[in-house]
C-alpha cells in the first residue's frame, strides 16, 4: 500500500499547494515534497525485491486488484517496484524537492499554481515508474504531459507557447504511435492474455504466444510493434533525429522545469524502452541491433557537435542531454550486465548531473538575466561558490571518475564493447566514446568564456553571490553525484539484479 500512499500524498500535496496563497506556496511545497522523499527512502530501505518485475521476479510493495473490465480484458490496478524502478523513484522525489527549492527565486508569479503543478507532475511520474499494468501506466504517462505543458506555457520564456505546443504535440503523437504498436501486440496475443498487466504480457510473449494479426505473421507483427514503440519512446528520450522539441522546451522552460524535464522526464523514455522494447521483444531488438546502435552513436556525436555550436548555456546542456541519452540507448542494445545495468545507472546519474547543470545555469541566470556565453565573462569572480559547483558539475558531465557520470559511462562502454549482439560493437562503442572528448570541448569552452577571465558584464544587473537557498540544491546534487560515483553499488547491485533476467531471454519465435 505504500506506493498508493506515496502517490496519493503527492496528489494531495499538489492540491493543498494549489489552494494556498502564493506567499506560502514555495515553502509549503518544499515541506510537503519532503514527505515523498522520506517515503521513497523508506521504500528503498524496506526494498526486498529480486529479479525483474516483468519476468517473474519478486516485486516489492506489489498491489494487484481488478479495477474494471474492458471487453475480454480485466484492467488491474497493479503497481510494484523492482531494481530498475527503485532508483528512479528515489531520483524523482529528491529531484522534485530540489527543483522546488531552486524555483523560489525565479518564479515570481502564480506561485501556488506553479508549485502545485510541480507536485502534480511528481505524483504522475511516480505512477509511471511504479505502474505494472499497461492501462494504469498509460494514464500516468499521458498525465505527465499536462502539467509540463502548463509549466512551460505559462512560466516560460518569450517563445513559451511555441515550445509548449511543440513539446505537447510531438510527444503526444509519439505516444499515439507507441499505443498503436503496443495494442497490436495485445491483439496479436489474442486469448493468451486476460489482462493488460505488463508481467502477464511479457511472459506471454516469452512463451511464444504471439500470433499473427491483421495479415501480419507473428515475427512481422513483433517487428512492426517494436518499431512503433521504439519511435514512440525515442521521441521522449530523445534520440536524434527526433530531438528537436527538446532544445526549444529547455530554453523556454523556467530552470526548475528544465531540471525536471532533463532529470526525470527524459528517463521515462529510456525506462519505457527498457521495460517494453528490450524486455518484451528481446529477439526483435537483437535483430535491429545495427540500426539501434547507429542511432545511439548518431545521438551521441550529433548531440555533442550541436552543443558545440550553441551560445546559450541552456541550449548547450540541452543538446548534451541528447548526447548523454545516446549512451543509454547504446547500453540497452548491448544486452550485457554492464551495458543494460549501466544504461539504467546512467538514467539516474544523468538525472542528477543534468539537473545540477541546469540549476547552475539557472543560478547564474537569476543574477545576470542572460544565458548567452557571449554576454558575460569572469563570473567566477563575483559568484565563486556557484562557479565552483558549476565547474565540478561540468567535470561530472564530462565523466570525471568518482562522480556518477563516469561510473555510468564506463559501465555502458564496458558492456557495449564486450556485447555479442553484433560483430562490430567495439567499433560503435569506440565511435560513441568520442563523445567524451567533444563534451569536454564544449563545456570547457563555455566555462572559460563565462566563468573565467576578467569580469565583464554588460547588463544592468548587479552580479553578486547567489542566496543560500539557490546554492544549497546544487551542493546537494553535487554531493549525491560524488556519493554515487564513489560507491555506484548503492544502486548498481539492485539494477543488475533486475536487468540480468532480461539478458537471459531467448528468442520467442
Amino acid at each position: 500500500m505504500i506506493i498508493e500512499a506515496l502517490i496519493a500524498v503527492t496528489f494531495l500535496a499538489a492540491l493543498v499547494t494549489f489552494v494556498l496563497p502564493d506567499r506560502y506556496a514555495g515553502k509549503a511545497a518544499f515541506a510537503l515534497s519532503l514527505i515523498p522523499v522520506v517515503g521513497s527512502l523508506f521504500m528503498w530501505q524496506q526494498y526486498d525485491a529480486s529479479g525483474n518485475a516483468l519476468l517473474g521476479g519478486t516485486v516489492a510493495f506489489e498491489t494487484d486488484v481488478v479495477w474494471l473490465q474492458l471487453g475480454q480484458y480485466d484492467l488491474h490496478w497493479m503497481v510494484g517496484v523492482d531494481g530498475i524502478s527503485m532508483p528512479l523513484i528515489v531520483l524523482t522525489t529528491i529531484l522534485t524537492t530540489l527543483a522546488i527549492v531552486s524555483a523560489w527565486t525565479p518564479i515570481a508569479e502564480r506561485q501556488s499554481q506553479f508549485f502545485g503543478l510541480m507536485l502534480f507532475m511528481e505524483a504522475n511520474l511516480l505512477g509511471v515508474f511504479t505502474a505494472l499494468d499497461f492501462f494504469v501506466w498509460f494514464i500516468f504517462w499521458e498525465a505527465v504531459l499536462v502539467p509540463m505543458y502548463f509549466l512551460i506555457g505559462v512560466w516560460g520564456g518569450p517563445r513559451r507557447k511555441y515550445a509548449a505546443i511543440k513539446f505537447f504535440v510531438y510527444t503526444n503523437i509519439a505516444s499515439l504511435v507507441m499505443f498503436i504498436g503496443f495494442i497490436s501486440l495485445v491483439f496479436g496475443l489474442g486469448d493468451s492474455i486476460s489482462s493488460l498487466r505488463l508481467p502477464e504480457i511479457a511472459q506471454a510473449l516469452q512463451a511464444g504466444q504471439l500470433g499473427g494479426f491483421a495479415g501480419l505473421s507473428a515475427g512481422a507483427l513483433a517487428s512492426v510493434a517494436f518499431i512503433a514503440m521504439f519511435f514512440g519512446f525515442a521521441v521522449k528520450v530523445p534520440v536524434a533525429p527526433l530531438h528537436t522539441w527538446l532544445p526549444d522546451a529547455h530554453v523556454e522552460a523556467p530552470t526548475p522545469v528544465s531540471v525536471m524535464l532533463a532529470g526525470v522526464l527524459l528517463k521515462m523514455g529510456t525506462y519505457a524502452l527498457l521495460r517494453f522494447n528490450f524486455t518484451m521483444l528481446p529477439e526483435t531488438a537483437r535483430s535491429f541491433a545495427l540500426p539501434i546502435a547507429l542511432l545511439a552513436v548518431a545521438s551521441v556525436i550529433y548531440g555533442a557537435l550541436l552543443a558545440l555550436a550553441q551560445q546559450d548555456l541552456k541550449r548547450i546542456v540541452a543538446y548534451s542531454s541528447v548526447s548523454s541519452m545516446g549512451y543509454v540507448i547504446l547500453g540497452l542494445i548491448a544486452y550485457t550486465t554492464y551495458g543494460v545495468g549501466g544504461a539504467t545507472f546512467q538514467m539516474v546519474a544523468h538525472g542528477l548531473i543534468s539537473g545540477l547543470m541546469f540549476m547552475a545555469v539557472g543560478v547564474i541566470y537569476n543574477t545576470t538575466h542572460t544565458r548567452m556565453v557571449t554576454d558575460m565573462s569572469g563570473v567566477a569572480d563575483r559568484m565563486p561558490v556557484t562557479a565552483g559547483i558549476f565547474v565540478a558539475g561540468a567535470f561530472g558531465y564530462m565523466g570525471l571518475p568518482l562522480m556518477a557520470g563516469f561510473a555510468a559511462e564506463f559501465f555502458i562502454f564496458k558492456g557495449a564493447f564486450e556485447s555479442t549482439v553484433m560483430e562490430a560493437m567495439p567499433l560503435f562503442t569506440g565511435a560513441a566514446m568520442f563523445g567524451i572528448v567533444i563534451v569536454a570541448g564544449y563545456l570547457l569552452f563555455a566555462m572559460q568564456r563565462t566563468l573565467f577571465g576578467p569580469f565583464e558584464f554588460d547588463g544592468d544587473y548587479d552580479v553578486t553571490s547567489a542566496p543560500f537557498h539557490d546554492v544549497a540544491p546544487l551542493a546537494v546534487l553535487l554531493l549525491l553525484t560524488i556519493v554515487l560515483g564513489v560507491s555506484p553499488d548503492i544502486f548498481f547491485t539492485m539494477i543488475q539484479d533486475a536487468v540480468n533476467p532480461i539478458l537471459e531471454l531467448g528468442g520467442a519465435f
Binding site: 511543440k166 504535440v169 510531438y170 536524434a240 533525429p241 530531438h243 528537436t244 550529433y302 557537435l305 550541436l306 558545440l308 555550436a309 550485457t336 550486465t337 554492464y338 569572469g378 567566477a380 569572480d381 565547474v391 567535470f395 564530462m398 570525471l400 571518475p401 568518482l402 563516469f406 561510473a407 564506463f410 559501465f411 562502454f413 564496458k414 564493447f417 564486450e418 560483430e423 562490430a424 567495439p426 567499433l427 562503442t429 566514446m433 568520442f434 567524451i436 572528448v437 569536454a440 570541448g441 570547457l444 569552452f445 566555462m447 572559460q448 566563468l451 573565467f452 577571465g453 576578467p454 564513489v486 560507491s487 555506484p488 553499488d489 548498481f492 547491485t493 543488475q496 539484479d497 540480468n500
Partner: protein
Amino acid sequence: MAGILEFAPAIVLLPFLSFLIALGAGRYMPKGGALAGIGATAGSFALSVATFFAVSGGQNYNQTIYTWAEGLDAVNLTFGLLIDPLSAMMLVIVTLVAFLVHVFSLGYMNDEGETGLPRYYAGLGLFTASMLGFVVADNLLMAFMFFELVGLCSYLLIGFHFRQDGPPSAAKKAFLVTRFGDYFFLIGVVAVFATFGSAAFAGPDAFPVLAEEALHGEHSVNTFLGMGEQAWFTVVGLLVLGGVVGKSAQFPLHTWLPDAMEGPTPVSALIHAATMVAAGVYLVARMYGFYVLTPTTLAIIALIGGFTALFAATMGVVKKEIKQVLAYSTISQYGYMMLGLGAGGYVAATFHLMTHAFFKALLFLGAGSVIIAMHHNEDMWDMGGLKDKMPVTYYAFLSGSLALAGIVPFAGFWSKDEVLYETLIHGLGGSPILLAAYAMGLLAVFFTGFYTFRMVFLTFHGEPRSGTARDPHGVRWNVKGPLAVLGVLAATAGLVNMVPVEKLFGIKGIDFLHQFLDGSFSSLNAHHYAELMPYSSGYIGGETGTVAIGAAVSLGLALAGAGLAHRLYNVPEPVEHTDKLGGIKTTLYNNYYQDEYQVWIATGIVQPISRALDKFDQGIVDGVVNGLSSVSLFAGGRIKRLQTGVVSNYAALLTLGLTALIIGLGLIGGWFA
C-alpha cells in the same frame, strides 16, 4: 617494519585529507591551509620511505581494498594497492617532490601575497593524492580513474589565476589535449576488460600474464573484430598508449605542456617532475609486461620517444622565457624515457624517471626562485648576473642543469646514458628502427646541452640587463631549503645505478636500481621483462667497448652543446645568436606551428562542422517537424473554408450529402441493377 605496508593507503589518504581541510577550513587557518598540506605530505613521505625500505627488504603488497562496482554474473570492478619496487620508488619521488613543493609554495605563494590560497593548497593536496592513487593502483581501471583526476587537478591548478585571460585558456587546452589521449586510453581499458576479463597488473589474473599465456597458446582470450591475438594486443597497447602520449606530452599531443606554464611555478614543478607528466611514462612501466609482448608497440614507443626528444629539444633552443625552456626540456626528457621503454630498457627508463623528477623539480623551483627575485618577470633577456645575488639558487640550479645536460657525474648523465646504451645495443642487435631512434636521441643530447647552458648563462652570468636583475627580491629559507635538498639529490641520485662503471671496471653489485627492481613479483620484475623482450643485443667491440663508446659520445655531445652555449652566451653582454637562424628560428619559436594546426583542427574543422550541423538541425531536422505542422495548419486552413457561415450552403451540402448517401446505399443494395 612488519606490517608497514598495511598503512600504504594512508599515503594516499593523507594528502586527500589535506585537500578536504584546505577546501573546508583553509580560509580560517594561518597560511591558507599550507600547513595541513605540508604536514600531510611530510607524513606521506615518511610512510613512503618506510614502505620503500620494507619493499627493499623483499616485501611486496598486492591487495584489493575496495569493491567499486560488484558485478552480479559479471566481473567486479575494484580498487586495490600494488606496492612493489616500482611503485615504492615512485611513491618516494612523488611525496618528496610534493612535500618540497608545498614548502616552496610558502615562499612563492604566501610570501608573495597571492589570494585564493585555500583553493591553491586544496588543489595541491588533491593533485598529490590523485597521483599517489595512480601510482599504487593495482589495476588499469583504477589507474585510469586517478589518471583523470590528475587531469582535473592540473586544470584547476594551471587555471589558478582564473581572473586573467591566459591561465583559463591554458588549463582548458591542457585538459582537452590530454582528454583526447585519454579517449584512446579509455577504449584501451574497456578493451582490456573485454579481452581478459580482468585489468589487474599483478596477481593470478594479471592481464599481462594472461596475454603472455595466450600468446603461448596456453589458454584463449577474447579478441575482437576478427583479429589474431598478436594484432589485437598491439591494438590494445596502442590504445592505452594514447593516454600516455597525451599525459606525458609526447608528439603530437605535447602542445598543452608549454602553455601549462601559465600555472604557478611550484605547480609546474609538481606537474613536470612528479605527477601528471610522469604518470604517462609510469603507466607504460607499470604494464610493461604487456607492452613487451608486442614488438610493434615497442617500436612505436621508441620512435615517438626518440622523435619527441629531438623535436622538443630544438624548440627549447630559441625560447625567451626561462619556464618555456624548461617546459620543452621536460617534453624532451620524457621522450628519452619513452625511448628507453620502447627500446627494452625498462630499468633505464625508470631510472631516468627518477633522476629527472629530482633535477626537473629542482630546475622549476630554481626558476621559481629566480621569478620571485625578478618580480615575476620570466624573460631571460631581462636577467643576467644573478649568480652573485642568489648563490644558493645558482648552485642548486647549476647542479640541476648539469644533471639535465647529462654531464658526468650528475644524475642525468647516468640515466640518460643508460637509456641511450640500451637503445644502441638493441638497435645493433638487428633493429634499425631503434638505431634511427637512437640517432635522434643522440642528436637531442647536443641540443639539450646547448639550451640548458644558454639558460644558465643568460640567467645567472654576464651583466644584469634590467633594473630588477640589478636589485632582485630576496628569497627566504622556504625557497632555499627545497632547492638545497634537490640540488644534492640531482648531483648524487645517479650513483644508485652506475651501470657503465660496473661494466667498464667490473665492479659488481653497484647497479642498485637493477637489483631493487628485480625484487618485485615474478611477473613484474625487470628480469622477467628482459626475458620477454623481443630484441637481441649487438655490440661494437664487445660489451665494454660499447659502453665506453656510448658514454663517450653522449658525454661529448653534451659537452659540445654546453661549450657552444658557453662560447655564445657566457659573455657580459650576450646577443640573440639564434636570430641568425632566420626562418628556422621563426619556425622553432612558433613550435613548428603545432599549436596552429591543432587550433585549426578545433576552429577550422570542428567548429564549422558543428555550425553546419546546427544549421542542418535547425533547418532540415527541425524544419521537417515544423513543416509537418505547417502542412496540417495549411490543410486545415483550406478545409475550414467549407464553413461559410451561410445557412443555405449548409442546407445545400446537407441535401447533397443525403442524396449521395442514398445513391451510395442504392448502389450497394443493388437498387439500380
